[in-house]
């Protein structure tokens, strides 16, 4: 599987003139759309992850400290204002909940609390575990620089362990595209998230991947039927909110004959994601001439993940925020496609390689193993960001998501 991902770690976003950092002010943020989830394990769309980062904190960032006392042990130091047991409980929950992100802790065989730290014992060498701990799904809730004081209002925590944010408050207004655009153009919002990106916009990270998972019970010609019927470029251009890019297949396929009699299948998708609804409708239309009568069934995200965990689906649109490192991404992809055997076969060997070799090998495996997985990659998406001139010090993390905790407002 190839993906077009631009990794930009802590990239400063242009559009703001440098000025001296100053405390205070309320940042108005216009959000095109309405985030559906607040739980880190399920709030994995770019917009949800961005907002969750205000009140949660990734375990790889301060005030946490991540060290590796031994090659097979990773230690997470927890600041006194937080509890190590909460961190341990979070990690154990990640391992047990029906989520593809448990693959991030795949190498971890034991989680234990040691004083004010949490120690992770590894079953096999995995140098990318520290990078995995940066994933928004592993962020500790309530440990962020802001506190949710009212719906849509985030107040700065003055005693935040890593230092209080510059901003006093951050107000999020959820509205539709036109409303968000109006707020931004009228300068009633300092930032706008989710608007259609301008043609000359910075190339942002596209880490939110969507794939079509399918059941082995489908005819063997299903993959070929799909590849010949669905144009990913059309999907990305007309049915998915930008910024997005197609995930193109590696090998061309031959169009099979239409099934007779017609095969009835059910396509499950996330009821809270308009993009998945539009893509599902498109797949329904494109697969019909090839003998597939596709019934559409929207489900709440939790129920969708539960069905995924049990393998209870024929077709399912599955989205996840890909990790920054390719090895972690490979583990997540194999977990999502339910290819546990392949994971057990290839991942321990990957962990033994050095960083560069491991990265290359992981990318190679993503390409070679792709056709054998019951998963069809569709597209990746990022978060479009419109930044006003007074917004200063806005940085992006490894997923292209804005870090709002370091932002301050400059002079008008």
């Amino acid at each position: 599987m190839r993906r077009v991902i631009t990794l930009a770690l802590l990239v400063s976003v242009p559009g703001s003139t440098a000025s001296r950092a100053r405390y205070g002010g309320t940042l108005q943020l216009a959000l095109a759309g309405r985030p559906a989830e607040a739980d880190g394990l399920y709030a994995d769309t770019p917009a949800e992850a961005t907002l969750l980062a205000l009140t949660g904190r990734a375990l790889c960032l301060s005030p946490f400290g991540v060290t590796r006392p031994t090659p097979s042990t990773v230690r997470i130091d927890v600041p006194p204002t937080l509890k190590a047991s909460d961190v341990a409980a979070l990690l154990k929950r990640v391992q047990t909940e029906p989520s593809p992100y448990r693959a991030l802790l795949g190498p971890v065989s034991q989680i234990s609390v040691a004083g004010s730290a949490v120690e992770l014992k590894l079953a096999y060498a995995w140098p990318d575990l520290e990078s995995a701990l940066c994933h928004p799904a592993l962020a500790l809730p309530g440990a962020g620089p802001f506190k949710l004081s009212a719906p849509g209002r985030y107040a700065a925590d003055p005693v935040y362990a890593a230092g209080r944010p510059y901003l006093d408050e951050l107000v999020v207004t959820s509205t539709d595209d036109r409303g968000a655009e109006r707020l931004f153009t009228q300068r009633k919002a300092h930032l706008a998230i989710g608007l259609a990106p301008k043609p000359d916009a910075e190339k942002l990270s596209l880490a939110f991947a969507t794939a079509l998972l399918y059941s082995p019970s489908l005819p063997p010609t299903f993959r070929a039927a799909f590849e010949t019927a669905v144009d990913r470029n059309d999907l990305v251009r007309f049915f998915v909110r930008p910024p997005a890019a197609p995930l193109l297949p590696g090998t061309p396929q031959t169009k099979p004959a239409a099934l007779s009699p017609v095969r009835e299948v059910t396509l499950l998708y996330d009821a809270s994601l308009d993009d998945q609804r539009a893509v599902a409708a498109r797949l329904q239309v494109r697969l019909a001439p090839l003998g597939y009568r596709v019934a559409l069934k929207p489900l709440p995200r939790r129920e969708l993940r539960a069905r995924w965990a049990k393998g209870d689906y024929e077709l399912m649109l599955f989205s996840a925020l890909l990790p920054a490192r390719s090895a972690n991404a490979l583990a997540l992809v194999l977990e999502a496609a339910k290819a546990q055997e392949l994971a057990q076969k290839h991942l321990p060997g990957l962990g033994a390689l050095d960083d560069e070799a491991r990265e290359e090998k992981a990318k190679e495996l993503l390409v070679t193993l792709g056709p054998s997985l019951a998963a069809l990659p569709l597209y990746v998406q990022g978060l479009s960001l419109s930044v006003g001139p007074t917004v200063q010090n806005l940085k992006l993390d490894a997923w292209g998501l804005p870090r709002l905790d370091d932002v301050f407002l400059g002079a008008e």
Binding site: A196, D234, R237, F238, E264, A281, L283, V285, R293, V294
Partner: protein, 545 residues
């Protein structure tokens, strides 16, 4: 059947005839009226339904004409002409469709490729031959087609009425094909407008339906060939319920009328027949001997005349009867006196002759005097005995005592009497049904049986034969028959055999049978001489106990 019952039934029959004549006729007329009204209602509803369909088509027509002229579509045409087209093109038709309350809208290029679809946005980029075909019709034509829609269970086809409009932009021509669906909303609208159950059918598939089809319905259709047929089922349940209700009311009133007719009939017939019944009852009582019976009922007209005449006739009859009875009594006493005189006189003559002979012989000193005295004395004594018997029987006949009734078994009594007779020349046969109970005086009844058996025996004293005594009963009566094989009763005496002093026997008093007959009469029974081929056959009939 009694006259009162006949008259009552006649009243009832008369009313029944009227009801049987009027009710079916009225019901038939009512049914025709209701059916006519129902038909008119259905016709009006169908006119409204057709007008609604026509209005929808006209609205789609107007909306599409406005769309074709609008700057919105020009903007879409401009976007479609760009290379590559902008992402907003995919949803443009949906926005245009919703603004104009259309349910179907596709924007096609000249080759039928979908530039944007409002009813199926996912159809973007696909060739739609069906809608492309619509572009070949005249611009003002509304064309029924099957369009594809996205459904939860898969793509489905639905009937629609669409029209096409060309949109020229620069060198390129685009087509806007739009209209309305013939679906659930249309069915609901027709249901609310007409009150009918609406079903939309396309081929063998039911597209939409408002409820279940009524069990009894008049069905009309709106045709949208070749894609759909709209069936409107107008329930006849209301009309049938009204008919049934009216029928029930008719029957109720008819029943009430018949009941009233019966009551009135009974009352009137009673009024009419009561005097007649009184007359009948009085006649019966008079026949039974109650000559004082009169009818004292208020009446009018002919009935009053009849009652008065009857009462007068009754009084006349009573007077006449009393005179007759008096005459008969006098005649009967005269007859009895005559018979008695005759019976007494008969023995007196030989007595007198014997005494005169003795006087003559005595006067002459005839030596035969002693011999003659003995003979004459014997003759005189015999005649005196005969006189005595005659007087005794007459006395008994004259003052027969009132019977002392007690429950008796007639068969037992007959058997006891027969035991007094020893068989010899004459045999006695008993045919006695057991348990023949009567209320009678034992002595008097025994006297009757003895008299009858003795008569039978005496009739065969020379020739011998069989005396048969038969006892039987039925629900009302008990009877005893005595039959003999003697000479029988001469025909000229049969009518008078129960009169006093009528006898066939020499030396008989002729009072035995009259006494027996009187005893029978005193016991509310009768004694009869029945016909018989041989001998005499007497039957005593008494009321059964």
């Amino acid at each position: 059947m009694r006259l009162r019952t006949t008259l009552s039934l006649a009243f009832l029959a008369l009313s029944l005839v009227q009801v049987a004549t009027v009710v079916p006729f009225a019901l038939k007329n009512l049914t025709a009226l209701l059916t006519g009204q129902e038909q008119q209602r259905i016709d009006r509803s169908m006119v409204a339904a057709e007008a609604t369909a026509a209005r929808k088509q006209a609205d789609a027509h107007a909306a599409m004409s406005e769309l074709a002229r609008s700057p919105d579509l020009e903007e879409v045409a401009r976007d479609a002409d760009r290379k590559p087209p902008p992402p907003s093109l995919a949803t443009a038709a949906e926005t245009l469709m919703q603004k104009r309350r259309l349910q179907v809208l596709s924007l096609l290029d000249g080759n039928g490729r979908t530039l944007s679809s409002g009813h199926l946005p996912a159809h973007f980029g696909d060739v739609d031959d069906t809608l492309l075909e619509v572009t070949k019709h005249p611009a003002d034509a509304i064309v029924p087609v099957m369009v594809e829609l996205s459904g939860s269970s898969g793509l489905r086809k639905a009937p629609a009425l669409v029209t096409a409009r060309p949109v020229d932009y620069g060198d390129s021509r685009m087509w806007a094909v739009g209209g309305v669906l013939i679906g659930e909303a249309f069915a609901t609208e027709l249901d609310q407008l007409t009150g009918a159950q609406v079903e939309i059918v396309s081929g063998n598939e039911r597209i939409a339906s408002t409820g279940a089809r009524p069990a009894s319905a008049a069905v009309r259709t709106l045709e949208f060939p070749p894609v759909a047929q709209v069936r409107l089922s107008f329930s006849r349940a209301g009309m049938l319920a009204t008919e049934a209700e009216v029928l029930r009311a008719f029957l109720a009133f008819a029943s009430l009328g018949l009941a009233l007719a019966l009551l009135i009939g009974v009352a009137v017939s009673r009024r009419i027949t009561r005097p007649l019944e009184a007359l009948t009852d009085a006649s019966r009582r008079i026949a039974a001997g109650e000559l004082d019976a009169t009818v004292q009922l208020p009446a009018q007209g002919e009935l009053r005349t009849l009652i008065e005449t009857f009462n007068r006739m009754t009084m006349d009859l009573k007077a006449t009867t009393e005179k007759l009875v008096q005459s008969e009594r006098i005649a009967a006493w005269q007859e009895v006196a005559r018979r008695l005189a005759h019976e007494i006189k008969n023995p007196l003559t030989p007595i007198k002759m014997s005494l005169e002979t003795l006087i003559a012989l005595g006067k002459r000193g005839d030596p035969r005097f002693n011999t003659m005295f003995q003979e004459s004395a014997g003759a005189v004594l015999e005649e005196v005995e005969r006189l005595r018997r005659t007087v005794d029987e007459f006395s008994q006949f004259a003052r027969l005592p009132r019977p002392k009734l007690q429950r008796l078994d007639l068969s037992e009594l007959a058997a006891q009497v027969l035991q007094l007779y020893a068989p010899g020349k004459i045999t006695y046969r008993a045919d006695l049904q057991p348990n023949v109970a009567v209320d009678a005086d034992r002595d008097q009844l025994t006297q009757v049986i003895v008299n009858l058996v003795k008569n039978a025996e005496e009739s065969m004293s020379e020739t011998g034969g069989e005396v048969t005594v038969h006892v039987a009963k039925d629900a009302a009566s008990a009877w005893l028959e005595v039959r003999d094989e003697g000479a029988g009763v001469p025909p000229d005496q049969r009518a008078r055999i129960f009169e006093p002093y009528v006898t066939t026997k020499s030396g008989g008093t002729g009072l035995g049978l009259p006494i027996a007959a009187r005893i029978a009469q005193e016991h509310s029974g009768r004694l009869e001489l029945l016909d018989s081929e041989k001998g005499a056959r007497f039957r005593l009939t008494l009321p059964a106990a």
